[in-house]
């Protein structure tokens, strides 16, 4: 009953899922931090750009973005992101799409973290004579980072689940392998249970652990 499993590289597919998650997480953290910096900056134009970006990208389905990277960016405009073969191109395009989408949510999480620091904290810091950099480094950012762990956990877990969308442009990750196996084998229930279990293993422990961390480091107010 389990023999057919040896014909498929299930662990390899989940490894691709993890790689997609990893690179997209790094990329969206960088781009999302930049966006968040724009959204809280004193320059009105940057704030406007950040707001518009977040509101547009959040309202477009991730599937539209990912399919666009393949049909629009690659096939129409010839953007290949420096990769040579199709596997590499699709992987990089999927990561690009995931970063563009997830960064909007990272930005909102970071911004809400900064907003949780009460104005009184900064006023107090100034009252004891700290300058701008000291205020930021010693008072605002430590509190903001601690309150941002929980929201960022949400984003990371949503990202892990969203990597399945990369299947729409043929990245050989878990969901694509699942579809292939369902089509070829008459073991629907068993196959589904395996893939469901795989994703539960990826999302649930991460969620439980990071939520524990979030509670641990949360600022009591």
């Amino acid at each position: 009953m389990f023999d057919f499993l040896q014909d498929y590289d299930i662990l390899g597919a989940f490894w691709t899922t993890i790689q997609l998650t990893f690179w997209s997480a790094i990329g969206s953290l960088v781009w999302g931090t930049l966006l968040a910096a724009m959204r809280v900056s004193p320059v009105p134009l940057m704030r406007g750009f950040g707001t518009v970006y977040v509101n547009i990208v959040r309202n477009i389905p991730l599937t539209v973005i990912i399919v666009f990277t393949s049909l629009g960016l690659f096939q129409t405009l010839g953007v290949s992101l420096g990769a040579k073969d199709f596997t590499g191109i699709n992987f990089r395009l999927a990561v690009l799409g995931l970063i563009a989408y997830t960064a909007a949510f990272v930005c909102e999480a970071l911004r809400s973290g900064i907003n949780t620091v009460p104005l009184g904290q900064v006023e107090a810091a100034r009252a004891i004579g700290l300058n701008f950099t000291q205020t930021l480094r010693l008072v605002v950012l430590p509190q903001a980072f601690r309150s941002v762990v929980g929201p960022l956990t949400n984003v990371l877990i949503a990202l892990t689940k969203n990597t399945t969308v990369a299947a729409t442009i043929g990245v050989a990750e878990a969901a694509l392998l699942m579809r292939e196996m369902i089509e070829n084998e008459a073991q629907l229930i068993l196959i589904s249970v395996i893939f469901a279990f795989g994703f539960i293993c990826l999302t649930l422990p991460t969620g439980l652990f990071l939520n524990w961390v979030a509670k641990k480091v949360a600022v009591k107010r």
Partner: protein, 304 residues
């Protein structure tokens, strides 16, 4: 525009204002460079030609043949998923607040299970299950599969919304119901549930945005003819205008979801200010939190 002081910086003085002008100029140059690069590469591939964009503004057939039918299917799938998932979600949400430990545990396990799995996996499973175990016709199967996948996932998210909605009510409501001799079931159906429905309306509308966005998966993976799936036939019939088609489809999605989001925020503001309610509300922000597996905004057992 008068600047409000934030946590991070003061109201700018003359030097800071000069610096901000410099940053603005640099930012404009950077954005202009990116826009120029995008326009240049689009023009190099002939994607800016008038004939690729004109159909959307002059030819109503593009809309009646491709976009509007696609949008209709998107809306139908999202509406069906919401209508079916809501009662299921309410059932599981209430079960998670049960006094009986095993009812709580069973409902909790089901909810956690479906929240931890990607919607696409659920859709693929539903699609194969319909073809293997039922005689749903192949034309209808994509719709059935999309709606089933969305229902399985969203019922578990809505269960958390319902639970949060009930927990958000002041405990005086339960106490008062007990004091006039209502039983547990009566308290739930006559006092808690009707009020929590109002409290969670904004969260429900926000979840509708998530559902609308997820229908696009059905178009890309299961051959469901929704809005995204209309891009391919459209660009095939109107001279390979891939970029133009994607832009229009994205704009339609953004407008639809923006209307829903604005409506949710308006509802939330109205409920928070309202005098006739308890002021309890499950807000738009809570939805994101409720989509995450393994965590609940309020621990169970707070309520008798």
């Amino acid at each position: 525009m008068k600047e409000k002081p934030t946590v991070l910086y003061d109201v700018p003085g003359p030097r800071a204002r000069r610096r901000n002008v410099l940053y603005t100029v640099l930012f404009v140059i950077a954005v202009a460079a990116i826009i120029w690069w995008v326009v240049d590469s689009l023009a190099a591939k002939n994607q800016l030609e008038g004939e690729k964009w004109d159909p959307f503004f002059t030819d109503s057939r593009v809309w009646t043949t491709y976009i509007l039918p696609g949008l209709k299917n998107t809306v139908i799938a999202a509406a069906l998923a919401m209508v079916i998932a809501l009662p299921l979600g309410a059932l599981f949400g209430i079960a998670r607040l049960s006094d009986h430990r095993w009812v709580r545990a069973a409902a909790g396990t089901v909810v956690e299970f479906f929240r931890a799995i990607p919607v696409l996996i659920l859709m693929l499973f539903a699609n194969a299950a319909y073809s293997e175990f039922t005689d749903v016709s192949p034309e209808n199967r994509p719709l059935y599969a999309v709606v089933t996948g969305l229902v399985l996932y969203n019922a578990s998210v809505l269960a958390e919304v319902v639970r949060a909605g009930i927990l958000a009510l002041p405990s005086g409501q339960t106490d008062a119901a007990k004091a006039i001799g209502m039983r547990k079931g009566q308290t739930m159906t006559n006092v808690l549930l009707p009020q929590s429905v109002t409290a969670m309306l904004p969260a429900l509308v926000s979840q509708l945005v998530v559902i609308v966005k997820d229908t696009a998966l059905g178009g890309a993976m299961l051959g469901f003819s929704e809005l995204l799936a209309s891009v391919r036939p459209m660009s095939a019939n109107y001279g390979a205008n891939t970029i133009a088609s994607f832009t229009i489809v994205a704009v339609v999605f953004v407008v639809l979801n923006f209307l829903l989001t604005s409506f949710a925020s308006w509802l939330e503001g109205r409920l928070r200010r309202g005098k006739r309610t308890t002021g309890a509300v499950v807000g738009v922000e809570a939805v994101e939190e409720l989509n995450r597996p393994g965590e609940h905004p309020t621990e169970p057992g707070d309520r008798p």
